[in-house]
Symmetry: C2
Subunit: 170 residues, 2 copies
């Protein structure tokens, strides 16, 4: 049995940067975090942490800390996936990226809009986010995920490009 709704959700996920003022519920936040931590990780080490930001002053400070995060002035929620590289030195970027993608897909499934705002590996962005959120030097903020009820609509799509497919050999 094909789960067509799950496939549809992958194509429905788009980068949403405008939100209504409706808050995201605690139950929805819990689902997003459960989805994050359902991601695979190398040797099941789970090198991740998640900071949940809902306070307006902190969201505004994050918006000011990053060159491409102005939508946080409007978003009611930001989840900040972080890594502890000491747990999995070789694989933490990949593991935390899979967890981030799961958050975006779970947000879409909940009818929420979200967007992946890159932080690591830009030192100036990492340091600014660390400063706002009190993150220790040993921990890496991977990205920011502003989340809210969407105030813009985008059509489902893939970016399928046959020129990027190779058969049997490069």
């Amino acid at each position: 049995m094909v789960n067509q709704s799950a496939l549809d959700n992958i194509f429905a996920r788009r980068s949403i940067r405008r939100y209504t003022d409706q808050p995201v519920s605690e139950a929805e936040i819990k689902t997003l975090l459960e989805a994050a931590m359902a991601a695979p990780s190398a040797s099941d080490r789970r090198p991740w942490h998640f900071i949940v930001v809902r306070q307006r002053a902190t969201l505004d400070a994050l918006a000011q800390s990053h060159p491409y995060a102005k939508m946080l002035f409007e978003a009611p929620l930001c989840i900040v996936p972080c890594a502890d590289p000491a747990i999995s030195e070789a694989w933490w970027v990949q593991d935390c990226s899979a967890a981030t993608e799961n958050i975006l897909l779970a947000a879409t499934a909940l009818g929420l809009g979200s967007v992946w705002i890159g932080v690591y590996p830009r030192a100036e962005r990492m340091n600014a986010v660390r400063e706002v959120l009190g993150i220790p030097e040993s921990i890496v903020p991977l990205c920011l995920i502003p989340i809210g009820h969407p105030a813009e609509r985008k059509q489902p799509r893939t970016r399928y490009d046959a020129s990027r497919i190779h058969r049997e050999q490069w």
Copy 2:
């Protein structure tokens, strides 16, 4: 409207390492690649390529090239997500990891089993995979994804851990 089937699919995705001998169809492969290329990428640069391997001799050679890829002796399909770091030097690991997670989730939705086998950043694994598949030095094979009809069952789950959640501040 909550897309509960899409949420369920995130929790149903498990690492499946045993497969029947039933082949994966071309239509299914197309869906997996469409899902991969529906992933977000920094500045929409899409620094990815995908090698689709179905020939038994090549699958066996990949199985022999990697210390943890013995399931490829049994799998009818391997997708190898690769990156061209020249397209997006800072972000290619994250972008290709999101595409990889989309492939795993699309496989689950299609009733297929799959598993993420790490290659990058281990030089000996990258070189061995490059040799088998004729991948140039400028291109990085991120991981191997063996895929097939599952010959083992695992229950849905999250690895939710409240100790990894921080509120407002680290």
